[in-house]
């Protein structure tokens, strides 16, 4: 589905990603874990086209998209929920969701998908006309996910969906991620909450100062001594 080969990214003289390679297969949940500043967000931003790669290849469903613009990648059914949610605060919930479907023209289906989003996140359905900026952190996260789903992505990139949320809400968000995955959407998840991420991931990669240092199934990594020590506090 998605293949990254030897990706390098620089911010000026800082070498943020060093030869990162990873694969996400159709139908999987793959997670990328690592400490602050390891390059997780940079990896996602480069995949979604917000950040330019210095070298390397990004291949989506067999097509090289390394030099394709971010908006065209959305058209190719790749969608990202950015770090910090980045909803449009001065717009209503409905307007935010409509923007998620910006590239689609099938009005009837857009309406249907929006109803599905309201079913998935009932709290959003109760507040359709409310300005997104007035929602709580958890509700904004749900809106950001709903907005990304409105483009009907084949692959969804999630950047720190649990950031700043209460533990109970984190669990709910992760349940919803599993739920979205079960309807056939492939997921690449970046998380600092390694424990939760590994518990739902089919496979995982560990990123450390810009390089992939370990990979395996979610279960394998959750049991590994090194991961236990560095990321799971055990």
């Amino acid at each position: 589905m998605l293949e990254i080969k030897n990706l390098n990214v620089h911010y000026g003289v800082i070498h943020a990603l060093k030869d990162v390679s990873l694969t996400v297969n159709q139908g999987e949940i793959v997670t990328l874990i690592g400490a602050n500043g390891a390059g997780k967000t940079t990896t996602l931003r480069t995949i979604s086209g917000l950040q330019k790669a210095t070298s390397g290849e990004i291949i989506l469903e067999g097509k090289d998209i390394t030099n394709v613009s971010a908006s065209q990648r959305v058209e190719m059914k790749l969608s990202q929920v950015p770090e910090g949610r980045r909803i449009f605060p001065a717009m209503t919930i409905v307007e935010n969701l409509e923007l998620g479907a910006y590239l689609r023209r099938d009005k009837a289906n857009i309406k249907k998908d929006m109803d599905n989003i309201f079913e998935l996140f009932p709290i959003l359905g109760e507040r359709k006309k409310q300005l997104a900026g007035t929602l709580s952190g958890g509700e904004q996260q749900m809106l950001a996910m709903g907005r990304a789903l409105m483009s009907r992505p084949k692959i969804l990139l999630l950047d720190e969906p649990s950031m700043g949320l209460a533990p109970l809400l984190v669990r709910e968000i992760f349940n919803i991620i599993v739920n979205i995955n079960s309807t056939g959407t492939t997921i690449l998840l970046v998380e600092q909450n390694a424990k939760m991420a590994l518990s739902i991931a089919h496979r995982a990669y560990v990123l450390e100062t810009g390089s992939i240092v370990m990979t395996g199934t979610g279960e394998e990594l959750a049991k590994s001594d090194e991961i236990q020590k560095s990321y799971l506090g055990g």
Partner: protein
């Protein structure tokens, strides 16, 4: 203070006051049209487009040319001028500002001043520096309400402005491209993740803002009857003050700001000394910047973490 002044002086003064308000609304409508372009461009790329006043000047000349040489009427002249200015605005953005998208804001600002001078003196090269008078496009009819006089030009100016603002509100709030504009001005990265093409959206914003300035140029031509290649400088700065007063980046703010500055100016001319009207506007700018730098409807610039 004004009202008590009026109460003591009686009817004649009230008439005079209302007359100044009528004049102020007409002039203010023109400022509002120009201020909208400043505020929309600022909203989307955080640039004070100092060439905007000169786009308005070009609009006035296009209106002058098509009415004088082609004999067209008011409405066709208005439309042709708006279209020409839209194209001009998009070209300025593409040629001068787009290559500097990722450079410092001061570099773009200096470029804007350069574009402003370029437009002024290119126009002067082609049409000469002399003042030209607009042909009479509207009937010289005046309407009298008691002692208050409203002329045809003022009615056209206010009506045109209202219609354009309703269209603008519709475009910005209800259409897809309007939503894209709001999304890009709120958050460029997030907008790209929706599949919005940021460059096209910025281009469109310049087109709309410049078209409104073009309309303002034609309206000021029929109102004051005279145009010259440097006519954009002072109204451009005043429209900028209007945009700051309303809260830069806010569309309703630009409308309110434009009307307020227009009225301030006519009231100062009417009651004080018309020599001081420019000074009054800029003194007002200083006051806003000291008392409420974000303007009437401006967003609080405090950053949320």
């Amino acid at each position: 203070m004004l009202t008590c002044f009026i109460a003591t002086k009686g009817g004649a003064t009230l008439d005079q006051f209302l007359q100044q308000i009528v004049n102020g609304v007409s002039l203010g409508s023109i400022y509002a049209l120009v201020a909208l372009g400043y505020t929309m461009v600022y909203g989307i790329i955080k640039l004070i487009n100092f060439a905007h006043g000169d786009v308005y000047m070009v609009g006035a000349y296009v209106g002058f040319a098509v009415t004088t040489y082609l004999g067209l009427g008011f409405i066709p002249a208005l439309i042709i001028s708006m279209v020409t200015c839209a194209v001009l605005g998009m070209s300025i953005e593409k040629i001068a500002y787009k290559p500097l998208r990722n450079s410092t804001r001061i570099a773009v600002l200096i470029t804007a001043i350069g574009v402003s001078l370029l437009l002024e003196y290119t126009m002067m090269y082609f049409v000469g520096p002399e003042v030209r008078s607009y042909p009479k496009l509207l009937s010289p009819k005046v309407f009298k309400f008691g002692n208050i006089i409203i002329n045809m030009q003022q009615i056209y100016i206010v009506l045109t402005t209202i219609v354009l603002m309703i269209i603008l509100q519709y475009v910005v709030n209800k259409t897809k491209v309007g939503k894209a504009m709001r999304a890009v001005s709120a958050d460029k990265d997030a907008a790209q993740l929706m599949g919005i093409k940021v460059d096209n959206t910025i281009s469109f914003t310049f087109a709309i803002g410049s078209a409104l300035a073009g309309a303002g140029g034609v309206l000021v031509g029929i109102y004051y009857n005279s145009i010259d290649p440097l006519m954009g400088m002072m109204p451009g700065l005043k429209a900028f003050v209007a945009a700051v007063f309303g809260g830069i980046g806010s569309i309703p703010g630009a409308m309110i700001g434009g009307l307020s500055i227009g009225m301030l100016e006519t009231l100062v001319s009417g009651y004080g000394n018309s020599m001081y009207r420019d000074a009054a506007v800029f003194a007002f700018l200083i006051l806003i910047l000291i008392l409420k730098p974000s303007g009437l409807l401006g967003k609080n610039t405090k950053e949320k973490v």
